[in-house]
Symmetry: C2
Subunit: 414 residues, 2 copies
Amino acid sequence: MKAKIITIGDEILIGQIVDSNSAWIASELTKLGFFVTSILSISDNSIQIKDTIKSSLLDNELIILTGGLGPTKDDITKNTLCELFNSTLVFNNDVYADVEAFLIQRGANMNRLNKDQALFPKDATLLRNRQGTAPGIWFEKDNKVVISLPGVPWEMRGIYKDEIEFRLKKQFNLPENYYQTIMISGIGESPLALKLENWENNLPDCIKVAYLPSLGLMRLRLGILEKTAKISKEIVEKEVEKLHIIISKYIISDTEASLQEIVFKALHNSNKTLSTAESCTGGSIAQMITEIPGSSKIFKGSIVAYANETKTNLLGVNPSLIEQFGAVSQLVVEQMAEGAKKALNTDYSVATSGIAGPDGGTDEKPVGLVWISVSGPNGTVSEKFLFGKEREINIKRSAIAALNMLRQVLLEDT
Amino acid sequence: MKAKIITIGDEILIGQIVDSNSAWIASELTKLGFFVTSILSISDNSIQIKDTIKSSLLDNELIILTGGLGPTKDDITKNTLCELFNSTLVFNNDVYADVEAFLIQRGANMNRLNKDQALFPKDATLLRNRQGTAPGIWFEKDNKVVISLPGVPWEMRGIYKDEIEFRLKKQFNLPENYYQTIMISGIGESPLALKLENWENNLPDCIKVAYLPSLGLMRLRLGILEKTAKISKEIVEKEVEKLHIIISKYIISDTEASLQEIVFKALHNSNKTLSTAESCTGGSIAQMITEIPGSSKIFKGSIVAYANETKTNLLGVNPSLIEQFGAVSQLVVEQMAEGAKKALNTDYSVATSGIAGPDGGTDEKPVGLVWISVSGPNGTVSEKFLFGKEREINIKRSAIAALNMLRQVLLEDT
C-alpha cells in the first residue's frame, strides 16, 4: 500500500523551518505497513497543491498533507481541497464546539477567525483536534484517501493518534513491514562495511541493509518489506545473531534505544544515581538524560561549570591545577567528575571540559579538544578526544562520547 | 531561477531520520536568490532517482541532491548519475589525496572502500570534501546544473560553503529575494491576525506575509521575490514600522535572532552575568545559552537541581518550604533563583520548577504546571504557567518562557 507525504508551506521552501512532521508521519505509516514512496514539500500555492495531489493520487493510495490549515490568510489548504473534491464549506457544529471548548480552557475568547475554523467541507470526515483549533480533514474517493492536517507538530500528532490510525487500519488491507536497527559505536562506516562484506554478500535477497551514520553513532538497519511479520522477524533475528559474532564489541544495542536510554536503564536496574559536571557541553548531557520520563529516579542534577570560579567554588577543583594545566586538562576534568559525585551525592558522575569553538583554541589546545571523565564507585577514568571545528557539533559529539564512556563503565561495573 | 532539492535515502522515507539538510540548503539558495520550487525525498532506487532528476530538470535550472554517496553498498547515487549523464567513473588523484589526508589526520588507514571513493565521474566537476571522504559532484548540461552531495550534514555544509556557493553565483544570473522576519511573543495566531487584518488588506501586492508559530513564539515573515534588494528593503521596512505601531508590545525582535541571542546581547551590552537553577528544564536553558559562541562572557554556569536534596544542598532552598508547599511552588522557585545567583556569583539568575510529566501530576498540581523565577539586581519576580501534557513540549516551553521572562526583566532594568 503506497503513501505519499506532502508538506505545504513556503516557510519550508525558504529553509526557515525544518520539516520534522514528515519523518514522524513516515515512521507511523511504515509501522502500519505502508510503503512511503516519497516526501514532498511545496509552496502555499493553490494550483501547485491541486496538481501535486492529482498526480500523486495516480501512484499512491494514501496522501497525507500537513500545513496551511491555520486561521490566517496564508492558510489556503482547506479551500483548495474543496475545489479539488468539488465540495463546499459548511458550518460544522462539532468543530465550533471543539474550538470553543479549546479556547475556554486557555482563557481566550472566540473571535471571527476562530469561527471561520468551524467551516468544514461537507463531503469530508471530521478529524477532531484536541490540542488546537484547526481540525483535520479526511477526503475519500475511489478507495483512495487524502488527509489534511495542521502543521503544528503536537496538533498533527494528536489528531493522527486519536482519529487517523484506527481509520487507516480499517480502510486498508495492510501488509506488515519489518525493520530492526542495531546501534553501533566506535567504528567508522567504511571499516564496518569491510568487516560486514561477507555477511552482506550472503544475506537473503529479501533483506535490505542501510548504514545510517550520525554523530558518534552508527545505526545499521535491516529491513524486510511486505512479508508476514513472523517470518520476517525470524529471518532478521538470525542475521542479527551473526552480527553479534562478527562485530560484538561495537554493538551497543539491538534496539533503536538512544545512548541516554541505555544508560538510564543500566543505572535504574542497578539502583544507582548519576550527576554531571559540564563545562563545554553546557548542560547538554543533563538535558539529554532529563528528556527521559522518570529520569528523576536516577538523576540528581548537574553543575554546569562554565566559569573557572564555578569549577573551583562548586566542584572543588584545585585552582592551582587550572593555573598550571588549564581548565581543559586531564587532572581538572577528573576533579570535576569527583567533585560533582561528592557535591550531588551520587554513585556516578560524568564531566566534560573542552574547547567547543569557534574561538579559544591554541596550537597546543586546538578547537575540538575535549577531556571527558567518568567517576564511579570503582574509581575515575578519563579520555582525550579531538573533534572538529564546528561548535554545535563539538558540543553534541562531546555529550555522546561522555554517555558512551559512562555506558562502558557501567557495563564493566555490573 | 528555480531550484529543487532532492534527498535520497530510505532512512528518511521510513521516518528514521529527520531531513534537516534540505532546510539548510533551501535557506542558502534563497539567500542567493534562487526560488526553491519543492523539496523531495525519494528512495535509494536507481530508476526512481533517474526519473525524478529527468522530470525535475524540465522545471528547474538547479538540482541539489544529498545522500547515497557513502562508501557502502546502499549508496548508489554516484553510479546512477553516471548512467544518467552518460559518464564513467575514473580514478581521480585529487580525491585519492583528499581521502588519504583525511584518514591520516584521524589516525585511520586507507581501505579498499575508501579507495573506491577516489573513482569519480570523468565528465563532472570535483567538489572537494574537507570534512569527510565522499566528494561532491557537479554535473552540467544545457546550462542546467545537478549537484550531488553526501548526506552527512557537516560534510554537506562544508562542501557547499567551500565549493558551491561561488560557482552558483558565477553560473547563474541571480535576482535578489528579500525576506524579513519579526519575532512576536505573548499573543496567539488568530488574535494577532485580527489585529493585523487592516494592515494586511492594505499591503502592497508584492509583499507576501506568513505566520510561523513555534513553541511560545510566533515569527511573522514578510517576503518579496525577484525585486531588487534595495527597493524591497525599503518597502518592507515601511511595513515593519507600521507593525511597530500596531503590535509594539508583542514584538521581541526585528530580526530572526533567537530568544537566547537577544538575552545574550542584552547581558553582554550591559556587562552583566547570568546563571540558571533548573529543575524541570533539566539543563535546557543552560544548553540553549551555551550554544551561542562567546556565551562564556556572560554565562557562569548552572545548577541543575533535579533532586530535592540538590535544591537544598546546593541552592540553599529551605527544606521546610519544600515540605510545606512542595518543590513546584512560588517560594521554592524564588529561593532557587536567589540561591543560584549567590552560589554562582552572578547578576541575574533564572529558575524553573515544574511537573514535566507524564507522571507526577495531582489534581492540585497537574502535569504542565511550571513556576519560573528571575532574580536580578532589583529583586526577584516569579510567574506560574500551565502548559500541556507532553513532557518534551513542557520542557521546551518552560525554557522559552524563562528566557522571555529574563528578556523582559533585562528590558526594564536598562
